[in-house]
């Protein structure tokens, strides 16, 4: 009995040590602090987090009692994908707070305030479907925001059937947006990104054209390359290799050895930061880089990836930054959003946060433009919508372009960055429909 107590005490001490280690370690300036607000975690039946902000005294006057408009908001808040899901769902909440604080929406002489219902959708079709059922059939929302591909496919089954707008960040456009008239993708996939990047490469390296495509294996990245590789080939780039590495990869040495044999001019890397950093390191150690240009179009977690690669290995690497932390392209509103996010949640926002924040304003813009709250009307207005990004830098106009026969894919400015002499520099401002602007 005494021994059992001793072990229980030891277990408690160990748990406390682990949690304190996390707290103390994350409290240092170079790392990520613990979020100050707990995420909405759910079991099999999602529990909603409801958020309504009260207008400030200085806000525009309301006309009687404002009506509440519910907005559904989902993502992967726990488990794999939480890095995406948290930034997304938190940012929808921030955007709604900002909208409500500025007086909400005035339409047809009536004032509307927004209410967010956030659910953890998990990262699978069936949990997504359950989330969609809950949002649409129980909570009766007419507008749904969410991130993730598999879960969004589940949500979409419900939203399309019930004529509810789905504004989702998914990479896999061919699956998510085609023939689904109530669905809009507010994130660019490979199709939107690669054309811009390689137009810059053409200017920087006019005689080089051999590309090796290396990714980690997922439906998302495969679909990304299905679209972007033919596009690049059409633009004169020769494919010298395509490979999708096992997501459980521990070591990039063998893959890099193979890439070296193919002698590419560019290696195009569709992979998240957790893979990209070690890849950069291996590429440097085996002498692939800097002779071959490494292009990382994903751009999420840039600092972490460059940090694990180390200064020498990171030198010269190109990557996209959908928002510009470092240079002249960032607007004051964008900086304010990023700061608010960090202050509130104790960690940096990501591209998913920026895009989610902007899309909420896009929906409101569509409502104003059509003078309607009806999704059956809004679905016809959104394709031709253009609005200034509140978060993504100066002169960044957001709009939807044709992807797979529908104007359903949002495009936006991106910055091509390069790690040079130990710091990140902006190479060019890019947009899929415009020529690049060099810094």
């Amino acid at each position: 009995m005494k021994k059992t107590r001793l072990y229980l005490v030891l277990a408690t001490v160990l748990s406390v040590v682990i949690l304190i280690t996390g707290a103390v370690c994350t409290a240092t300036p170079t790392s990520t602090p613990i979020p100050t607000q707990a995420p909405a975690t759910t079991g099999p039946t999602p529990t909603p987090v409801v958020l309504i902000a009260t207008p400030t005294p200085g806000a525009a006057p309301t006309m009687g009692v404002p009506e509440i408009l519910k907005i559904g908001n989902y993502g992967m808040i726990a488990g794999v994908g939480a890095a995406y899901g948290r930034a997304f769902t938190h940012s929808v909440e921030l955007a709604v707070e900002d909208l409500n604080l500025s007086g909400g929406l005035l339409l047809g002489g009536k004032r509307y305030m927004f209410q967010v219902i956030t659910l953890d959708s998990g990262y699978a079709v069936d949990t997504g479907r359950a989330t969609g059922e809950r949002l649409v059939n129980t909570e009766k929302v007419k507008y749904v925001f969410g991130v993730g591909t598999a879960n969004s496919l589940g949500v979409q089954e419900v939203t399309e059937k019930n004529k509810v707008l789905l504004l989702t960040e998914t990479w896999s456009n061919p699956v998510i947006a085609k023939d689904k008239v109530y669905t809009f993708r507010n994130m660019m996939g490979g199709d939107g990104q690669e054309a811009s990047i390689y137009s810059v490469m053409k200017a920087l390296y006019p005689t080089k054209n051999k590309v090796y495509y290396q990714s980690t294996d997922s439906i998302t990245w495969r679909q990304g390359y299905e679209v972007s590789i033919p596009q690049n080939e059409k633009n004169g780039y020769q494919t010298v290799g395509i490979d999708f590495a096992d997501p459980a990869i521990t070591d990039w040495y063998p893959v890099v050895t193979k890439i070296k044999v193919a002698k590419p001019d560019f290696v195009d890397l569709f992979m998240s930061a957790v893979y990209a950093g070690p890849f950069f390191k291996a590429a440097h150690e085996l002498g692939l880089h800097p002779g071959t240009q490494l292009i990382w179009p994903v751009g999420d977690g840039v600092q972490a990836a460059l940090s694990v690669a180390g200064k020498e290995a990171a030198e010269g690497i190109y990557f996209t930054q959908e928002w510009d932390w470092y240079g002249k392209f960032m607007s004051d509103t964008g900086k304010a959003y990023a700061k608010r996010y960090k202050d509130r949640f104790g960690e940096e926002t990501t591209i998913h946060g920026f895009l989610a924040y902007d899309m909420v304003f896009g929906l409101v813009e569509a409502m104003k433009k059509s003078n309607s709250l009806d999704p059956t009307v809004l679905k016809d207005v959104i394709p031709d919508l253009k609005w200034a990004s509140p978060s993504m830098g100066k002169d960044s106009v957001l709009e939807f372009v044709d992807v797979g026969g529908r104007k359903a894919g949002m495009v936006y400015n991106q910055v091509l960055g390069q790690y040079k002499d130990g710091k990140v520099v902006n190479v060019a401002l890019m947009h899929p429909t415009k020529p690049p602007v060099f810094n």
């Binding site: 370690c25 613990i34 890095a83 999708f244």
Partner: protein
């Protein structure tokens, strides 16, 4: 014919193989002696990565000292897990399996809460790259291979040359007979789980500078470990060594001729074949 890529593959295969050996050794040790499929092994590896990140990257403790502390912490963690969660379920194979699965989910999500979803990077431990005739290996990897060897030899000596090791082998061969000879199964199981977890911590400490610490780091490692112990033989330490090195070399050479997806087909095809032809693995007991 250009031979450099093949020599490079040998070097890469051995270096990654040694990491696999270290990860799988703990898993196979626990299975061999305790007969528990410890699904939580991957998350212990993940906790080891966070420990080395905390001590080395954040608090600036000397790397070797940080590694030793990580190993010690994981030893204690393993012993506590055995005492609190596995001992009450001893002999109930399926229940233990579910318990291990549950623990792994608890640990993963606790790490997510404690450390956040963002990856934690661990600085380079031994900078520099050695090259010979176009074949490269970083100082970090070389150190990793050498330290892994030291740990494997240490484990071998512990099992073969110490009283504790003899007792562990006795329990593995026949637990009841060992108990009749005065060997305490409780003590042996506690130590086995501690040592198994410590090995996961050691592997994490060695490999983490090549990767990131993140809450789900252990999932891939666990999958590889299962391949290794199925091929090498469940519960066999030499089997884990053969399986680990074999996996490293197959991955390393396979990619030269095939793409990554095809390598996966070959790898798991071999596992299926092994289960059909020699289910006990190369070195396992029939």
């Amino acid at each position: 014919m250009e031979l450099t890529p093949y020599f490079q593959s040998v070097v890469s295969g051995i270096s990654i193989g040694m990491i696999y050996v270290l990860i799988a050794l703990g898993l196979t040790l626990v299975f061999g002696i305790m007969e528990i499929v410890n699904f939580a092994h991957g998350t212990l590896y993940m906790l080891g990565a966070y420990a080395i990140w905390g001590f080395f990257a954040v608090w600036g403790v000397n790397y070797i000292l940080a590694l030793a502390i990580t190993i010690a912490i994981l030893f204690v963690a393993g012993a506590i897990i055995e005492r609190l969660f596995y001992r009450p379920l001893r002999g109930k194979f399926l229940t233990c399996f579910i318990m291990a699965l549950g623990l792994s989910i608890v640990f993963e999500n606790s790490a997510l809460i404690a450390f956040g979803p963002r990856e934690k990077d661990i600085p380079t431990t031994f900078p520099g790259v050695l090259s010979f005739q176009g074949v490269f290996i970083s100082g970090e990897r070389l150190a990793m291979v050498l330290l892994s060897m030291v740990l494997v030899i240490g484990l071998f000596l512990l099992i073969q040359r110490t009283k504790l090791g003899r007792s562990m082998r006795a329990v593995q061969q026949d637990g009841d007979a060992a108990a009749l000879q005065g060997v305490s199964r409780d003590y042996i199981f506690l130590m086995t789980m501690g040592i198994g977890s410590a090995l996961a911590g050691a592997a994490a400490g060695l490999v983490s500078p090549l990767l990131f610490a993140n809450p789900f780091l252990g999932e891939g490692a666990l999958m590889k470990s299962f391949i290794i112990i199925i091929v090498g033989g469940m519960g066999s330490i030499p089997g884990a060594m053969i399986g680990g090195l074999l996996l490293g070399l197959i991955e390393s050479f396979g990619i030269l001729w095939l793409n990554s997806t095809q390598v996966q087909v070959v790898l798991f095809g071999l596992v299926v074949l092994m289960l059909l032809v020699r289910p006990q693995g190369f070195m396992g007991r029939a």
